[in-house]
Symmetry: C2
Subunit: 239 residues, 2 copies
DNA sequence: CGTGCTATTGAACCAGGTCAAACATAGTGG
DNA sequence: CCACTATGTTTGACCTGGTTCAATAGCACG
C-alpha cells in the first residue's frame, strides 16, 4: 500500500508521534503543528530554554535532544526535577501573566519550536492538556522515588520511565534507548552523588538489570525489572 | 464603616480567602462558590477523597482540615506527595476522561465541596488555573527538598511553606499555625523516619528555629529561618 | 601530546535508619 | 474512679547506605 510505503520512507518526527499518542490529531492539528515546526530553533548545550522567575514568552515543543527542569540551591546544590524529551512541552500555562516556576536547561544540543499560545484546534488542545497531566504524573513519580526508594530502585525506576517515554515518541527500541547524559546529571536527578550512581550502575550491570555503554542504555528484561521495583505504566486517561 | 464591621463579624471562609488571593473574584464568582459550598461534605480521617487510577468524578475544594496526596509502594512504604489545605483544589483536569494520578487521603476530619466542572465565571476560572500552577510549583519544591536538602533543611523549608500557604488562606498567625498531624506523617512527607524527624524537631527547638507543642507550630523568626535555608516565596504570576 | 571532561576505584566517615524499650495521653468500658 | 487499650512521642545503642575526598585512568578534541 502506498500509504504504508510513504510512512516507512518518512516516519513521523518524534514530537508528532508523541502528541498523536496522547490524543487523536486531525489534518488541522497536523497543519498547525507542521507550521510551528518550521520555526524550530537550535539551543546549545547548557543554554537555558526558560528561566525561573522570568515571564513565559511562549510555550515550546521539544523536537530533538534532551533538556531538564532544574532547581539550584543557594550553595550550588543542583536538583533536576524532570527530564524533557522530544515531544515534551514546556511553558504551558492556563492563566494570565505566567512566570516560569523552574529553569529549563538543555542537557544536549536541543531543537525546539514555539507553540501558538492562543486557540488551537481541538485535537492539539486535548493533546497538550493530556501532556500536562502526564507531566504531573511524572513529577509525582519523581517525588516517590526520591522520598522512598533506595539508590538501586531509583535508578531502575527512572530508566524504566525513560524507556516508557521514549517508546511513546518512537525513539526507543524494545529493550534499549540512547541516553546522552553523564552520570553526574543522572546523580543530580536522583538526589545522589555521581560516585554512588557509578557504583550502583556497575552493580546493576553485574546483576544483569541494566547495561549502559557508549551512550546507550539496555534493559535486558524491562518487564522483569518493572516487576522487581513495583512499577506500573503511567496512565492519565480512561480507555 | 458598615462593610468593615460585617467583615469583622463574619470573616471569609479560608477557602474563599485563598481563591480570592489568586485572582480577582466578582459577585458572580462568589455566588457560584457560595452555592458549591452549600454542598459541603465531611470526610473522616484516613478516608480517601480520591483514589489513584480511578476516574475523577468531579473536582473538589477543601474547606477545612488537612488532606494529602499519597503514593504507597508495593511493600508498604508510604510517601506523601503534597499536603492539601483549606482552599486547595483536587481533581482539576483540562482533558477528557481523566483518571486520578494519586490517591488523596484525609489526614484529619476534612470538609470538602464538589466544584462545577463545566464553565465558570472568568474570575473563578482564573483562580483555579492559578491554583493549578501554584500546586505545580509546590511539587517542584518538594522534589528539590527530597533530592538535595538535609533532614534539618527539609523540615524547616516545609514548615515555611506551610506557613506561607496557611497565611494565604488566613488561618495562620504571623509566627505560628495549627499543625494537626503526627510526626510519622511528617516523616512520610519528608522521606525520613519518624524517629529521625523527632530528633530533628528537638534539635530545631533547642536552636530556637521551630517549636511544636500541642498541635501548634511556632516559627520564632520566619524571615531569618527562610534566609537560613535559602527559601524564597513561591510566585507564579507577574505583577 | 597537553587540556578538560567523564568514568572508576579505594578508604574513611557520617547522616540517617533500625530495633527495641519506655513513656506519655486520651479514650473507653466496667 | 480505675484498669485496659491504642496511638503518639521520646530515648538509647548500634548499624549501613550513601557521601566525601582523593587519586587514577580513559578518551575526545584542538
Amino acid at each position: 500500500m502506498l500509504n504504508h510505503a510513504i510512512k516507512q520512507a518518512a516516519p513521523l518526527p518524534p514530537a508528532v508521534t508523541r502528541l498523536a499518542s496522547l490524543a487523536t490529531l486531525d489534518a488541522a492539528d497536523l497543519t498547525i503543528l507542521g507550521n510551528a515546526m518550521q520555526r524550530a530553533q537550535a539551543v546549545r548545550v547548557r543554554r537555558d530554554l526558560m528561566v525561573e522567575g522570568r515571564e513565559i514568552v511562549q510555550p515550546q515543543l521539544i523536537l530533538s535532544g534532551w533538556a531538564a527542569r532544574v532547581r539550584i540551591l543557594l550553595d550550588g546544590r543542583r536538583q533536576f526535577l524532570h527530564f524533557l524529551l522530544p515531544g515534551d512541552v514546556i511553558g504551558m500555562s492556563r492563566h494570565s501573566n505566567p512566570i516560569a516556576v523552574s529553569t529549563v536547561v538543555a542537557l544536549t544540543e536541543v531543537t525546539a519550536c514555539p507553540l501558538p499560545d492562543g486557540d488551537m484546534p481541538p485535537g492539539l488542545t486535548e493533546a497538550l492538556a493530556v501532556s500536562g497531566a502526564v507531566d504531573e504524573a511524572y513529577l509525582l513519580a519523581q517525588i516517590a522515588r526520591l522520598g522512598r526508594m533506595s539508590a538501586r530502585e531509583r535508578i531502575a525506576d527512572l530508566m524504566l520511565e525513560l524507556h516508557e517515554r521514549l517508546s511513546a515518541n518512537g525513539t526507543a527500541e524494545e529493550r534499549s534507548f540512547d541516553m546522552p547524559i553523564t552520570q553526574e546529571i543522572l546523580a543530580d536527578a536522583m538526589g545522589l552523588t555521581a560516585v554512588h550512581v557509578n557504583r550502583m550502575l556497575q552493580s546493576a550491570r553485574r546483576s544483569g538489570d541494566l547495561l549502559w555503554t557508549n551512550g546507550r542504555l539496555t534493559i535486558p528484561d524491562p518487564f522483569a525489572l518493572a516487576r522487581q521495583v513495583g512499577r506500573t505504566p503511567t496512565r492519565v486517561t480512561k480507555g
